[in-house]
Symmetry: C2
Subunit: 285 residues, 2 copies
């Protein structure tokens, strides 16, 4: 558990870390976030995450709360103060505090910034990866702007809860055309019987995952064939392997979809190798 | 502006009223809300609002944070402490504070409760109603569960901002079939040339508005014909009158849609009468 959080200019004890009740993040989900992996006490792929953060903010016309260099220092300081060597750092930026009114405040408002960090045992991640996770399918019911990494996550909460209640860890959204879009908090991948690695294009219907982008470099270096195209749950069930990517999970093998085993029902060899190779291609600051 | 807010058991000065940064309302939009009109220092249609609140909470499997009678006392106390005679009282309930994880907390967590109130000059509302408001149309881009009055309102924020930037006060969502669903924070109504009052059925695609429900009683008493069916923006532009309903606006005449005048471009006679009659049918506690 994070012991120290950064909130709007202050490092605070986690128990006392709070935001105003009229923070637009609280009343309107009017904010965005990023989750970066911490490894060796360093932030992984910081620059890529910040590029995406800035895009999310631009799309919502929320100002960058501080210079990128300052944000880096704050995030590193939260990691340091919490003595996290392996884990995640969470950054949330909302439009700020203003009297409740849907449209943007008409007077200048400073964006709110919250940063937390917490340790996650690398062994725990490895153990989960050695077992693999199960996914369920879930009808896509999010708004179309999932390319913005906003905190408007109630649909994701309900999908994740549905997954848990069905003994799974992730829900893969399926769009009206019957194709998988992505997971509720991860990107979705399959590997075909002839070793082509398939994931949906980031052009539509999904968030452009950072781990997804780095993994594409890994695939190229390993001379694995990438196909950016939609796939169906049936294709996933018949695939050789499947996995998800997310900053908090790296490459996590998927062994079942809707309780149908994928491949031999155990983590696949390629997914395992991708997980091992990943950090050779990620950047650490 | 509200001077005193109720937050999780305490009456606090507004400037100091805060929630924890890991409140799930802040990180996941995992909460619901109600806005009730205050008139003569009393809460209008409290029972109906609380019935809807309880439905929203049930749909999300969030516990009622306290008995209804206690919630009524708290809301009335916030109204009293802020000396509001005319205005609104806002209630937000989130799933509570828990370490960030999409699925519901696995340990018992107390829901968070926030109540604020603020005065709105009745004269200001009357002045706006005398002029009427303009609406724009906006492609429906919310998730399907708009029947839950959740704080997952980012799409509504953007639609309202788009309306403002086009010189309007409200955005009417238009679904894939070309029909108006509802406004970003109101229900949408038109009156045909032969005096039929038309609004979409609350069965699909909209929130079951409380003001909408009470207004249906008003229509019956005034022997006006109600048609619960979808209508298009073109039908609205060609209508005799149009208006929106919301607790903070009662019945608000609409005089233009996408800058096309409705009727003679002035508030309609029937909408004006509905506004005048409304409170004979509303309950005050």
């Amino acid at each position: 558990m994070s012991r120290i959080a950064y909130v709007n200019g202050q490092y605070e004890l986690m128990g006392a870390a709070s935001v105003h009740i009229e923070d637009r993040g609280y009343q309107f989900a009017d904010g965005v976030y990023e989750v970066c992996e911490i490894r060796g006490a360093k932030i992984i792929d910081f620059t890529k995450h910040m590029t995406r953060l800035q895009r999310s903010l631009r799309e919502l016309r929320i100002a960058m709360p501080m210079a990128l260099a300052a944000l880096q220092i704050v995030m590193q300081e939260v990691v340091r103060r919490n003595r996290v060597r392996s884990g995640i750092v969470y950054l949330q930026v909302s439009r700020g505090v203003s009297r409740r009114d849907h449209a943007f405040p008409t007077h200048p408002v400073a964006p709110s910034v919250v940063v937390t960090a917490r340790g996650i045992s690398p062994q725990k991640g490895s153990d989960t990866a050695a077992r693999g996770i199960k996914v369920i399918t879930h009808a896509e019911n999010r708004w179309p702007r999932v390319d913005i990494k906003s905190v408007s996550l109630l649909p994701n909460v309900l999908a994740k809860q549905a997954a848990r209640e069905q003994g799974a860890s992730e829900a893969w959204y399926v769009d009206a055309q019957g194709f998988v879009t992505e997971g509720a908090s991860s990107n979705a991948w399959i590997i075909t019987k002839d070793d082509r690695v398939v994931t949906r294009s980031a052009d539509s219907g999904i968030l452009a995952g950072i781990t997804r982008a780095v993994l594409i470099d890994v695939l190229a270096a390993m001379q694995l064939k990438l196909e950016e195209r939609p796939f169906t749950p049936a294709e996933a069930a018949a695939a050789k392997e499947a996995f998800v990517t997310a900053s908090s999970q790296i490459v996590m093998p998927v062994v079942a979809i809707d309780n149908q085993p994928i491949g031999d029902g155990r983590p696949g060899a390629i997914a395992r190798r991708l997980r091992e190779e990943f950090h050779r291609f990620a950047e650490a600051v």
